[in-house]
């Protein structure tokens, strides 16, 4: 195993990691504030991918317009998230977890078929934006510019979310809601708006990651249920509700998957689920989270 080979495995793992962080950050955000595991987060991600494809078709049928399309898709999914919270989810607060879980699963079923109905079952893809279409040589390996962009955007989003939560008034409200919802309510804050905003932001991040994956992965039905379990693993490893936990959880997940293939060929899938189980057994609140 040459150093350059190990480096390329590492970069592969890092790409997976940062990409999963984009998805899992929204999942973790909603869990932290609302104590809800949102199965539909993967569906929001899938809709981000399909809507980005659709926007590219409308804007520039010949190609191009990727960045605007990705932004529009993410905004549309954010709106979908806000509507979901306002229209349905609101009436499930205070009900048992089972009903909340199953509601988000009902969304998985409905959105999954809606995507099939709207876009068919064929694979769709978007070409890489021209500015990032090339590749560079790093330590004797060829790294496509687009994957380097994904690796860079992970920490950028993490830092942005950290600023939002820790350095703004809205963020302070969110953190307060995380600690004691009823007290915040009693103090006159509009908790309902905070919840809607969190749900919208979470869906926006899912939609954005869905849109950004399209140049490297084709868009297919079923991508929603495949990604959501991986996002669960990441959030569980790092600690449900913890931003930096989710970040490091993604890094660990990416590397375990990437190097697990080398150590146990064919059993890397097993190793990530085993890691999830071990962490839940030893530290249910994750490596970086705090006990509830």
């Amino acid at each position: 195993m040459s150093p350059s080979f190990l480096f390329s495995q590492f970069m592969g793992g890092l790409t997976t990691a940062m990409f999963l962080f984009l998805i899992a950050s929204g999942l973790s955000l909603v869990f932290g504030v609302m104590r809800v595991i949102n199965f539909a987060h993967g569906s929001f991600y899938m809709f981000g991918a399909y809507l980005a494809w659709q926007a590219v078709q409308w804007l520039h049928p010949t190609g191009g317009g990727f960045w605007l399309a990705a932004l529009l898709a993410a905004l549309a999914v954010g709106l979908l998230g806000a509507l979901t919270e306002r229209l349905f989810f609101r009436s499930l607060y205070g009900r048992e977890e089972l009903y909340q879980l199953l509601f988000t699963y009902a969304l998985v079923l409905i959105l999954g078929d809606a995507a099939k109905f709207l876009w068919g079952t064929d694979q769709l893809s978007i070409s890489t934006p021209p500015a990032l279409a090339g590749s560079v040589q790093v330590l004797g390996t060829t790294q496509p510019l687009y994957t380097l962009f994904i690796i860079a955007i992970g920490p950028a989003i993490a830092f942005g979310l950290w600023l939002l939560l820790n350095r703004t008034g809205a963020g302070r409200m969110v953190r307060a809601a995380q600690m004691d919802r009823e007290m915040l309510d009693a103090l006159g804050a509009n908790v309902g708006t905070i919840y809607t905003g969190m749900f919208a932001l979470s869906a926006f991040l899912a939609g954005l990651s869905g849109a950004l994956v399209t140049p490297i992965q084709s868009i297919v039905p079923g991508m929603d249920v495949l990604i959501i379990v991986q996002a669960f693993i990441v959030v569980v490893i790092g600690g449900m509700g913890s931003l930096w936990g989710t970040f490091w959880g993604s890094v660990i997940y990416g590397q375990v998957l990437s190097f697990g293939i080398l150590i146990f060929p064919g059993f890397s899938l097993f190793s990530v689920f085993a890691l999830m189980a071990v962490i839940l057994i030893v530290r249910p609140w994750g490596l970086f989270g705090r006990p509830l």
Partner: protein, 354 residues
């Protein structure tokens, strides 16, 4: 058992919601003495037994699916409705049962009479190991760990080519030898599929009778006490985790038996059977029927299998319909079909008596 049992009865008697339910049940029982004397369950089983003679091959196919799903859903409800544990990985035990029975019968030529109980034991053993860890966690963490264990089973089924057939699965699992049925008058002309259906029906009937017995036993009462108030149960000296683990193992074992029957019925076991979304589907089935009632989940199984057959004649968008049904259920009828009917029946009675 003595003092614990007495304690559980005390808890049950003092829990206000339970007391209300018991009084309501007593009132209903007094009023519908006649309908109570009709053995509904036995009648339904007898009608189901006539399907191979009176129905088409397709009816037998659907009935097989309903009967197997009914056992699977009842095993889940032992956790969900009786003990109050939300498992998101119950498909794992079903899958293990299907694989154990399928591998024993196909690869090693073991007879069904040995492979079937082995499937239940295998699933129960894995439930013991995984459950030992799961019952230490609460609520969402419990759900996540059951999901993780079921995905471990899926990953193994999907990748361990030598034993499970990997992504190719285990096709062509043989039917058990049912030639002895020819000796029974009227059974001579039945196809092997119809004979296996009758065997399935008989085995599921016995299994359901056993689960029913367990739920109604003092042990079952302790489980409902734990569901209603785990802290109080622990305060009374009940080893909550031990009872939860026992329920987990029993539920896993019966899920394994259902899986064994399913593998033979569907002529093969495939890794897709064990994917996590199947756990969600069986949860929907159970809730659709009503988790507060023993016969709720079988009703849910029958309605869902029937609905699937009707809907897929018109459209390929079955998931959409299932999601919509789930929404109506969650927002409109949290008690499920049996819960809704029970409510309707009681209102009707009150109207007639007013």
């Amino acid at each position: 058992m003595g003092p614990i049992r007495a304690a559980a009865v005390t808890v049950a008697a003092t829990a206000p919601e339970l007391r209300r339910r018991t009084t309501a049940a007593a009132t209903v029982r007094r009023r519908r003495a006649v309908s109570d004397r009709i053995p509904w369950v036995a009648i339904v089983f007898l009608v189901m037994a006539t399907v191979p003679w009176l129905g088409t091959r397709y009816d037998t196919f659907l009935a097989s699916q309903i009967v197997i799903d009914a056992l699977f859903a009842v095993s889940l409800n032992l956790l969900l409705g009786t003990t109050g544990l939300v498992s998101f990985g119950h498909i794992a035990y079903f899958g293990i049962g299907a694989y154990v029975c399928g591998i024993l019968m196909k690869t090693y030529g073991v007879p069904f009479s040995v492979a079937f109980p082995a499937a239940g034991l295998g699933a129960a053993l894995f439930a013991l190991i995984s459950g030992y860890f799961c019952v230490r966690l609460i609520k969402l963490y419990f759900a996540m760990l059951t999901l993780a264990f079921s995905q471990i089973v899926w990953a193994i089924a999907y990748k361990w080519n030598a034993v499970t057939g990997g992504d190719q699965g285990l096709p062509e699992i043989p039917y058990p030898n049912l030639d002895w049925m020819s000796a029974i008058p009227g059974f001579g002309d039945l196809s092997i599929g119809a004979r296996f259906y009758l065997l399935t029906l008989a085995l599921v009937a016995v299994a359901l009778a056993i689960v029913h017995r367990i739920v109604r036993s003092p042990f079952g009462r302790v489980l409902t006490t734990i569901r209603d108030n785990p802290e109080r149960a622990a305060f009374l000296g009940i080893n909550v985790r031990l009872y939860q683990l026992a329920a987990f193992v029993i539920a896993g074992g019966f899920a394994g038996l259902a899986g064994a029957l399913y593998g033979i019925f569907s002529r093969g076991v495939f890794a897709d059977y064990v994917f996590w979304s199947k756990s969600a589907e069986i949860l929907i089935m159970t809730i659709l029927g009503g988790i507060g009632y023993f016969w709720g989940p079988p009703v849910g199984a029958a309605v869902l299998v029937w609905l699937n057959q009707v809907i897929t004649d018109y459209t390929q968008y079955w998931s959409f319909v299932l999601g919509a049904v789930l929404l109506v259920l969650l927002f409109g009828f949290p008690g499920g079909i049996v819960g809704g009917l029970d409510l309707l029946w009681r209102r009707l009675k009150r109207l007639l008596n007013a």
